[in-house]
Amino acid sequence: MSAGKGEKLLEVEGLSAGYRPGVAALSDVTFEAPAGSITAVLGPNGGGKTTLFRALLGETPQRSGTVRVNGAVAYVPQTERARLDFPVSALDVARMGTYAATPWWRPSGRAGRERAEAALERVGLADRAGVRFGELSGGQRQRVLIARALAQDARVLLLDEPLSGVDGPSAERILGVLAELREDGHAMLVSTHDIHQARAFDAVVCLHGSQVAFVPPAELTPELLARTYGGEMIVLDGGERAVVVQHHEH
């Protein structure tokens, strides 16, 4: 176990956020994430998962409540959001995480390159550094975007459905990377629709417009899932397995 584990990296208290004055897209969110933890963020589409991430990044026009962060927060988007036709290599993309730390009047130099290379190595893609981003598999692209966040030197990572649209073996590799980052003392929030997966993490935040629950995965009962998802969910095997019916595809 690395030093600093258990130290609170993210504390959120009474957070409400929205895009227009007086209209909260998400309200009453209170949870914390210690170093070395993975927290699943569950909820239906439009339930506030994206709004929570945007609020934590300071990107929502309206925000109340308190958010305390130890260190920087980095965001890992779904790989489909990036332009696959850009002539940039995996290393180029990882380097983008170092640009902000470089003073804007100085082009990013060797230090940034080394940090990006280390980040790619961290996600097991050192040998793919020169390959064009668009030519990598979906799972590899996702890991490159994780490397970009690591290159930002952030201890808190927000991952937007990192396992959606990747095949089984790729998902396993991504989960392996997340487990290693947990060992390194990162705090991760992972938005997901996979309830089975959420049970393997350390804590679960359930959102449905407001916070429904912040519980350890063992307390993720069928009743709680039903309250979180409303009518969008089918529970199988007496609550051991649950399938979320997605109305909306990206």
Binding site: V73, P77, R81, R83, F86, V88, V93, R141, G165
Partner: protein, 279 residues
């Protein structure tokens, strides 16, 4: 091949092309990657009324073009961001307005006496030292801007929704990019005119993009191709007694067509080019 360049007007024209070519590489790469081709074309077209009124009002043409082109870019930004008009519709709207106003001003209404042909299609063979100086200044401005913002341009273009989370000064960088493109477009007006700026800033970069595997390849390739097409078009115009701006555009179009055909024949289907088609 060498003989035509004994004339000072041909030397000036070649020098102008040599100054515009690096701009075609540096900015052309951003223009095709960031999908600013239509914007670039329309800034050129928008400068037309500026060129028309410059003479009668006694202001330097470059300054008038820059004023009108800059005003156009600012108006476009407001229209598409604030008024909720789609960017391409707003661009088309302002483009038509600019051309129409230019033609009305160039007619007897304003008695400007300006040559509409020259304003629209350039006069590469009439380049003087002041035009060369302006192009050199535009190149210097673009190089300085790229030194500071090139990384941010690429990171923002690659993944705009994450730009802020990456701590990038995306809005500032985008503004600087649009401004240096406008300056470069104005610098190219003497060579290719209001309607043919794409021949310099879009066509070479779009051609090289079919093959380029990295940003430096795209930039250097587009600069090189712009230089070759520019000089080639100039010689073609000299031999055929054709307008050089148009000759460069025709040559560029032909090279693009040949390159696209070659790419289609030699390479298997490209990987998905759209963000939607991910696996």
């Amino acid at each position: 091949m060498i003989e035509p360049f004994q004339f000072p007007f041909m030397q000036h024209a070649a020098l102008e092309i040599a100054l515009l070519a690096p701009l075609a590489g540096l900015l052309g790469a951003q223009i095709v990657l960031r999908r600013l081709a239509f914007f670039t074309h329309s800034v050129g077209a928008a400068s037309f009324p500026g060129l028309v009124i410059a003479g009668p009002l006694g202001i330097p043409p470059a300054l008038a073009a820059l004023g009108v082109g800059g005003g156009f870019a600012a108006l476009l930004e407001r229209l598409s961001k604030r008024a909720g008009v789609a960017a391409d519709a707003a661009t088309a709207l302002l483009l038509v307005l600019a051309l129409a106003i230019g033609i009305v001003l160039a007619s007897d209404v304003f008695e400007s006496g300006a040559s509409v042909d020259q304003a629209l299609f350039g006069s590469l063979l009439g380049i003087g030292t002041s035009e060369l100086r302006f192009s050199a200044a535009a190149l210097a401005a673009a190089l300085v801007a790229a030194l500071f913002f090139r990384d941010t341009w690429i990171a923002t273009g690659f993944d705009a929704p994450s730009a802020r989370a990456l701590g990038l000064r995306a809005a500032t960088a985008d503004l600087v990019l649009v401004v240096v493109i406008a300056i470069a477009v104005v610098a190219s007006l003497d060579a290719v005119g209001s309607l043919l700026v794409s021949a310099i800033f879009v066509v070479p970069a779009a051609t090289v993009r079919l093959f380029a595997r990295s940003l430096p390849q795209l930039e250097l390739g587009a600069a090189g191709l712009a230089l070759v097409e520019g000089i080639g078009g100039l010689l073609l115009a000299y031999e055929l007694d054709a307008p050089p701006g148009a000759a460069i555009a025709v040559l560029g179009g032909a090279v693009f067509a040949a390159a696209a055909l070659a790419r289609a024949l030699t390479l298997p289907a490209r990987e998905p080019a759209t963000p939607e088609a991910a696996g």
